[in-house]
């Protein structure tokens, strides 16, 4: 039920830029999924108790095992210069690597405090790489809240890996973005059926599978928030294949079509490969679209997935977008999606949360996509909400998940309908 191409997309829509209080995680949060994706990597945040508490709170119920991330908490004596922070860091890393001999990649992750005191983690990573080579490679990036929001942490992490990727002249396709393994396997399966290969992934599940890169590498982004990684790969000579992001039947088809065109896949083969999964996706989306069709949606900024998702929900699920907020708008990467998104919604970048809440209350959307700090308060005001974080922690890409993606948005509306005869909410407290 994909709509026709819009007469006017949002490519030229003026962007409402705001700054103020932001209800968005910092980039450290990406560690929560990155450490599961890269099974031999350890993420060591150099920061404060707040950083450790954030990771723990965002990780929620994942306290099952000794995690592959931790925080080296700066103490008073580190700040007062009574001890050399670099020496302290060396000691903690030595201990860590001694206890975890399975670790092959170590990321030193900068935080707000380490950035403010200008602790040079790049120098530390270089020094440790020499010391622990060849067994462990040590890299650094910043996940600090003064520089990154939420998914930008993954971007910073992947961008830090690009300069150390081996060089190659091979003609290869590189898929960029951390995907759940099952989803990544589906994408690799589709590309293989199209006769495209070899295909590599960044990040790789294990250090040994790290891809190479060079002037004959072409790459496709699977996540919309990878601006720095995009730039870093281009600096290595790789070429980007711009496409809508692979959410929904249409997004997946257009994403695959772009790659297929690059690899000269015959149109008949392309149609034959995608026909069945696309039909399945459309069928599954149609089920959820019964609930979503005709409903309005308002996105608070969170993961930078907002514009592609608004494109999916408006074009394939019949929703109307009122405002599409994104923490950061990367125009180049977002161009194909913006062109498909019919004009109408406010496109906003950044956030002043109280002003945006006022707009949402005035618009009374049928569904509001927002972070965990806002969801229950808005529900208590009578607005149905969808936690944005679920969109990052759930397999939602490509054909086989398209129905699940639509269903994530439909569920809060279905739940409201089911509970409509319950006694109304009383003013709490």
């Amino acid at each position: 039920m994909t709509a026709a191409l819009p007469a006017r997309g949002c490519s030229d829509t003026p962007v409402l830029k705001e700054r103020g209080q932001r209800e968005v995680f910092c980039g450290l949060t990406g560690i929560i999924w990155l450490h599961r994706k890269m099974q031999d990597a350890f993420f060591l945040v150099v920061g404060s108790r707040t950083c450790a508490h954030l990771l723990q709170s965002a990780a929620g119920v994942m306290i099952f095992a000794e995690p592959r991330f931790g925080t080296a908490i700066l103490e008073e004596k580190d700040l007062a210069g009574l001890v050399d922070a670099q020496t302290e860091l060396d000691r903690e890393v030595d201990r860590l690597l001694a206890r975890r001999p399975d670790i092959r990649q170590l990321f030193l992750v900068g935080s707000c405090p380490s950035e403010v005191i200008k602790l040079d983690l790049h120098r530390a990573a270089e020094r440790m790489s020499v010391k622990h080579a060849p067994h462990v490679r040590v890299l650094n990036y910043s996940g600090s809240g003064i520089e990154t929001t939420f998914t930008q942490g993954e971007d910073a992490c992947l961008a830090s890996m690009v300069p150390v990727l081996p060089a190659t002249d091979a003609r290869e396709l590189l898929l960029v973005g951390a995907l759940p393994d099952v989803v990544e396997d589906q994408a690799l399966g589709l590309l293989k059926a199209l006769g495209i290969g070899p295909v590599r992934c960044l990040p790789a599940r294990r250090d040994a599978d790290l891809p190479s890169v060079g002037p004959n590498t072409v790459f496709a982004l699977t996540q919309p928030f990878l601006g720095d990684t995009h730039a870093a790969l281009q600096r290595r000579g790789a070429r980007h294949l711009p496409a809508p992001f692979p959410f929904g039947a249409e997004g997946t088809t257009e994403w695959l079509r772009t790659i297929a065109a690059e690899f000269n896949v015959p149109a008949t083969l392309f149609e034959a490969v995608i026909a069945a999964p696309r039909a399945r996706a459309e069928k599954a989306i149609a089920a959820a679209a019964q609930t979503l069709s005709g409903k309005s949606i308002f996105f608070f900024p969170d993961s930078q997935l907002e514009i592609p998702l608004a494109r999916f929900l408006t074009r394939e699920c019949g929703m109307t977008a009122i405002e599409v907020g994104t923490p950061f708008l990367h125009r180049d990467l977002m161009a194909p999606d913006l062109a498909l998104l019919a004009e109408g919604p406010v496109i906003s970048e950044g956030q002043d949360v109280d002003l945006q809440l006022a707009r949402a209350r005035a618009a009374r959307p049928d569904l509001t996509v927002c972070g965990l700090g806002l969801a229950n308060p808005l529900e208590a005001e009578g607005l149905a909400t969808k936690w944005a974080i679920e969109l990052v922690f759930t397999p939602v890409h490509f054909y086989e998940q398209a129905g699940d993606l639509a269903a994530l948005f439909a569920r809060p509306l279905r739940r409201r309908a089911l509970l409509q005869n319950l006694a109304p909410l009383e003013a709490a407290e």
Binding site: R19, G20, Q21, R22, E23, V24, F25, C26, L28, T29, V46, S48, R49, T50, A52, H53, Q56, S57, A58, V61, I63, F64, P67, F69, G70, T71, A72, I73, L74, E75, E76, D78, L79, V83, A85, E88, L89, R91, E92, R95, L96, C112, P113, V116, I117, S144, G145, I146, E147, T149, L372, G373, L374, A375, N376, P377, E379, A380, A428, E429
Partner: protein, 530 residues
Amino acid sequence: MKLTLWTYEGPPHVGAMRVATGMRGLHYVLHAPQGDTYADLLFTMIERRDHRPPVTYTTFQARDLGGDTATLFKTACADAVARFNPEALIVGASCTAELIQDDPAGLAGSMDLGIPVIPLDLPSYQRKEGFGTDETFLQIVRHLAKPCARSEKITANLIGPTALGFRHRDDITEVTRLLADMGIGVNVVAPMTARPSDIARLPAAHFNVLMYPEHAESAARWLEREYKQPFTKTVPIGVGATRDFLAEVGTLTGLPVKSDTSRLRLPWWTRSVDSTYLTGKRVFIFGDGTHVAAAARIARDEMGFDVAGIGCFNREMARPIRTLAKDYGIEALITDDYLEVEAAISALQPEMILGTQMERHIGKRLGIPCAVISAPVHVQDFPARYSPQMGWEGANVIFDTWIHPLVMGLEEHLLHMFRDDFEFHDEAGASHHGAAHKPREQGAEAAPAAADAAGSMPAPDAPLSEVANDHTDPQTADILWLSDAEKELKKIPFFVRGKARRNTEKFAFEKGLTRISVDTLYEAKAHYAR
């Protein structure tokens, strides 16, 4: 620098948030970078609050540094006062803002905001969440409490409950009832439920009930000094402690102790024969000092457990917990390092853990049942039902909560008797827990521990140490299990296997044995029989 995997406490500004969010009509302007807003979700998700915490974050970015972050802070203060119209403002810095030294206190003080402004000095790199609650509440009380006449009737303030507290919501109700039975009214409950204007009239009460020393002891001491208000030292968690608390209230007020105990069931429940199986169960207790001290007393004197180990994560309570441990003939473990707690539990092999959500996960991994007694909290710690820890109903709740993770009396015996039944075996878990039934593979060795979807029991795949001697105790590290003895050990149900192994190894060590045979196992059993 110290490596931390999981933390028991957040930074001190989260403690300040717990005070501010518990109160009404107070607003907190926090000088902080983007990302520190994560703390909002603690309240809106874990506690299911239907309002955003009353906190404005200045949200400075890298490009603001070296520029004018001070103006950003002042604008945030002015906006917050205009938008939320609070009766008072608390101002402070998170860890990053502390480094840029903008002096929120001075900045806010220089503005004419028309309401009291209370500066907080919470050193993020030295102190933690508990200090944050205590210090914030002290500063609020110091700034806002005003001299006033004592109430005509005898009244008390209930001080200490905060947002995100372990069952604070229901403890307030229970303590209010206890006082009402003696004819004592409640003047103010604070921080939870209080407005700044309520803080002003704290001195009208005749005494303070210090519910949670972690959060309000400094304020209680200050009120005692400034306003001659005595405060209660006993925390009424458990039957004995509640009786002591009432006696203390009687002494403070000169009123006779009166209490309606008709709804108190713990004493009979624990004496009824079904509870016999609780006798001497070895428990390890860990959490905040207040709840640990209360739990230790209940465990020994009201449940008939054997307290094998205690400890707390908050250093402020180290001294009382160490003293308490001496009474129990054990060493206290004072640490906020999760791995140390795990090592202690692993070495002690208790039959049950009374701990925090962290210990619940340790228990899952080690195959040891756990009941949660203390913060840090989880969404499960905010049940919809009335579920206090304090007072008579609190004692009832504790009895139920603590026995829930255990395999119950007769079921335990049947598991001992028919331990080879392929359907009804120890790995299937307690029959009152909701996990899928797992028939044992025919002929398979007893290995993994039981499952429970609710999480209070070991996960289905929790590896139970199958090494006959896991070498956690250096004394017994050289003792080896002969294979027959090892097989016999595996026939013992999982919930007592750890104890059997430990006792046998200890027995062997004391006898100077280096090999454990089946005979050694049963000699040890006879030796430790009770």
